[in-house]
């Protein structure tokens, strides 16, 4: 079997093992755990503060950009005079549709290259 050991050395290893029963060790570990938890809480607090500050600073430009996008996306690509045809083609005859088609094409292209 692959476990043959020198019995004298085995005995020495057993004799060398000390019986640690002090509470200081466990107390130190618990203190360390507490310190780590406080550190994590501080990091989370800092992250939330930064996120709130970003939200406060970027709220108005983000809202303005969203407003512009809302106005620009439904703009028709081609002017169609006939009312019923314009309504029929409206889902594909818009800036949003063009962007969607471009995104799908790009995705297909990327997949073809990397697969």
């Amino acid at each position: 079997m692959t476990t043959a050991r020198d019995p004298n050395l085995q005995k020495l290893f057993a004799q060398a093992a000390q019986d640690f029963q002090d509470d200081a060790f466990a107390a130190d570990v618990l203190r360390q755990i507490d310190r780590e938890r406080h550190r994590m809480l501080l990091v989370w607090f800092a992250l939330i503060v930064v996120a709130l500050m970003c939200l406060a600073f970027l709220a108005s430009p983000v809202l303005a950009a969203l407003g512009m996008a809302t106005k620009a996306l439904p703009v028709p690509l081609l002017e169609i005079e006939t009312e019923w045809l314009r309504l029929l083609l409206s889902p594909i005859n818009s800036v949003a549709a063009a962007i969607a088609v471009a995104a799908l094409g790009l995705r297909k292209f990327v997949r073809r290259i990397f697969r």
Partner: protein, 187 residues
């Protein structure tokens, strides 16, 4: 919820693990008091430095507290802790010079049983081994793992492990000849 120290002391380890997984610090402290001697001794045999060993053992338990929810089988706490401890030691070794500590005790003094403790002499002798050989010897003699288990644990070929243990055993027999002789005389 707080449990009395007496109740925790009488509880089986699997219960303490479950309580620790639910964030009970007292249960975890009880687990530590049961397992600390084993992990601290293992770290001492690996590092040979009591201060470093205790520091690493503390890190092992801190990490264990952080990831105890990942322990799905509460009865596997021992192997789980052992894996964590050995990984902690290997990580520490990688961060530091791997050759540091090997063969640094070149003095030819053989250990004297009457003046030094067995642990000190054993650590002194272990320090003469290369880090890989030392780890295999510690896992074999201290942890009583089979060669196959050590190979799986350290992800090294079985032949390498056998050779490490053979070489390490021979070197330790030389270094600790005084002890070995006195054992023979006693017999």
């Amino acid at each position: 919820m707080r449990y009395s120290a007496d109740l925790l002391a009488k509880s089986p380890e699997s219960v303490l693990v479950s309580l620790s997984q639910n964030g009970n610090r007292d249960a975890f402290a009880e687990l530590m008091s049961r397992r600390q001697a084993w992990i601290r001794n293992l770290m001492r045999r690996c590092s040979g430095d009591p201060v470093l060993a205790d520091d690493l053992a503390q890190q092992v338990f801190t990490q264990a507290w952080r990831s105890i929810r990942q322990l799905h089988d509460a009865d596997r706490l021992g192997p789980w802790l052992k894996r964590m401890a050995i990984n902690m030691w290997l990580q520490h070794r990688r961060k530091n010079d791997p050759l540091r500590g090997a063969n640094e005790h070149d003095d030819a003094d053989s250990p004297r049983e009457d003046t030094t403790s067995v642990a000190l002499d054993l650590d002194h002798a272990l320090a003469t081994l290369s880090p890989d050989v030392r780890l295999c010897i510690v896992l074999s003699y201290h942890e009583r793992m089979t060669h196959r288990e050590i190979a799986a644990f350290t992800r090294q070929p079985l032949g390498t492990i056998k050779s490490h243990i053979r070489r390490g055993t021979r070197k330790l027999q030389e270094e600790l000849a005084a002890y070995v002789e006195s054992e023979k005389e006693l017999k």
